[in-house]
């Protein structure tokens, strides 16, 4: 028996946009989120502000979530996982395990909005010492500090005088296997650098990079202001190693390539700009639904650039960072695309069934 309901798996920005989109054009959705709350990674990882415009993440995600929870055509299942899937396009049956036990949901199409995870810097092939030095942190760790307006060195609770970001950690690296650019880290690091400079006006902030990839409007929205108004120092040259100094600071080693000289400079706080990887949920749902993954584990979209949301299984669409590195604009755009495609699919099935 075919169903007009569309299951959206994942309650982050992509899943929220997809569920809302389905409801807005007259469909009905069930939104399944394994966490106890909506909002996805921006909430789970304590993002302070969204890139590029730095709107507080909590308020923005609450707004998106309320548009979904207040809509009668969307049912939300929190703390719920998909544990089994049967059937074919037009008549899938998902088995959910939630706070009230097991439940079966019929749906005609599925939107995967299972997102990304931050690259684990313990896997990097340089020697940054994320798990060794307390003052080596990652982008999301700094986000959490910025959220409470208190940026300090974890080792001693003191505000740092010298802060650096190391770009492309876990991205663009054949050794690690992540050959792709994670798209957002240049912008996120620059946004955070601006916030650090605002919060600690006496601090010196450096960004060590391979290429700055501030595409489109991010150039004038983040990059130029960071450099021109907030005096963030961009140094082309990647750090190979972080070493402890006798006075309890960190020494970063690299090459200042455009100046043509090696550098060894002391830092108080080193921020690793970790890239995106498929989230465990993305990998698990791909396996469960039998959807093909690319070599990195993201959902494969065989349709190419003009059909970026179709998976290799009929009736199953994906959006946002489940498909690969994506910023918020990419995510909500592909989510709306996936919503449209899913609704169109179940309607075409109903019409042919009625016909």
């Amino acid at each position: 028996m075919s169903s007009d309901t569309i299951a959206v798996i994942g309650g982050g920005p992509g899943g929220l946009r997809a569920a809302r989109g389905i409801a807005e054009i007259g469909g009905s959705a069930v939104l399944i989120e394994q966490r106890e709350f909506l909002g996805g990674t921006p909430i789970a990882e304590n993002y302070a502000g969204l890139t590029p415009h730095n709107e507080p993440a909590e308020a923005a995600m609450r707004r998106m979530a309320e548009a979904v929870t207040s809509h009668p055509a969307v049912q939300v299942r929190l703390g719920t996982q998909v544990v089994a899937a049967e059937g074919e396009a037009g008549a899938f049956t998902l088995t959910l395990r939630g706070p009230d036990g097991r439940e079966q949901v019929g749906c005609g199409a599925i939107v995967l909005a299972t997102g990304f995870g931050h690259f684990d810097p313990g896997r990097e092939t340089q020697m940054y010492g994320y798990y060794e030095f307390p003052d080596v942190i990652a982008l999301q760790d700094l986000e959490a500090m910025l959220k409470v307006h208190n940026v300090v060195r974890p080792s001693n609770g003191q505000p740092p005088e010298r802060v650096c970001f190391v770009q492309c950690v876990g991205s663009r690296d054949r050794q690690i296997g992540n050959e792709y650019c994670s798209k957002v880290c240049c912008g996120v690091a620059s946004k955070e650098a601006i916030e650090v400079r605002q919060l600690l006006p006496d601090s010196k902030v450096f960004i060590f990079y391979i290429d700055m990839r501030m595409y489109g409007f991010w150039e004038s929205q983040i990059y130029w202001p960071a450099q021109e108004q907030h005096h963030v120092q961009y140094i082309k040259g990647i750090i190979t190693e972080v070493l402890p100094t006798k006075d309890g600071r960190l020494l970063v080693r690299g090459e200042d390539t455009t100046m043509g000289r090696p550098m060894e400079v002391p830092m108080d706080l080193v921020v690793l700009s970790v890239g995106m990887e498929p989230s465990p949920g993305t990998r698990a749902m791909a396996r469960l639904l039998g959807v093909k993954q690319d070599k990195y584990g993201f959902i494969h979209a065989p349709g190419g650039p003009l059909d970026p949301v179709s998976t290799d299984r009929e009736g199953i669409y994906a959006c946002g960072a489940a498909l690969g590195p994506a910023d918020l604009e990419d995510t909500v755009s592909s989510a709306a695309n996936a919503a449209l495609r899913a609704v169109a699919y179940v309607r075409s099935r109903s019409l042919s069934a009625a016909g």
């Binding site: 120092q233 140094i235 082309k236 455009t258 100046m259 000289r261 550098m263």
Partner: protein, 237 residues
Amino acid sequence: MTMTDAHYKAPQVAGYADVPLEEKQRLFAEVKNDIRFADYLYGCYECGICVAACPSARFYDFSPRRIAQAAAREDVELFYQQMQEDIWECSQCFSCLRCPRGNNPGGIITIMREVAVGNGLASAREALKAYSRIIYKIMSTGTQVSPDMLQPDAFPDWGPETSDVSAHLDLWRRALPPETLHTTSTGWAVADKTLIELYLIWHHTGALDMIADVDPGLHAILAEVMEERLEEEGIEL
């Protein structure tokens, strides 16, 4: 402390005396606090378009990019080195103005040169040594080159006509239609009123003081000429 510290440069091998870090910071601050600085340096892509456009970069180990970078990074060590060396290799042609970020490395060099001259840096003395006659001329007469400076012995490669002209220089000059050119010791006749105004400008803008350190002898002569002339006009400094 900037990106470098002094680790990569051994000051004793440089062709100029090293000075304490505080002095370098003071010189950098003087450049940075110049009212023009904010319009000359925004942010640097380090793209090298200024170097590609720069004629001096083809002949010297000179890079307008490095000038912009040193200033942007507040690398006072490199900045000081540049004030002692690089800035005098710039021809001030401003080809570097094609910068996509709107920077003006040549303009930064203008300020750096002014600060180098004003602080009597060794490089400024060296660079201006050959120009004392021109500085004397322009500050005492208001014109840079006068006909009587163009003597055949000074310019043997100018050919035989030069000696004919210089032998009857006064006559040739009188043959020129505008009366203001009937002079040989200045490029054109400079009115007394103009000269007094110029002297007051040199004095009040600090232009005269700027050369006190780079060429004390020249400064003394000019000061004497100017004071005498101003006194005649009843102006006391």
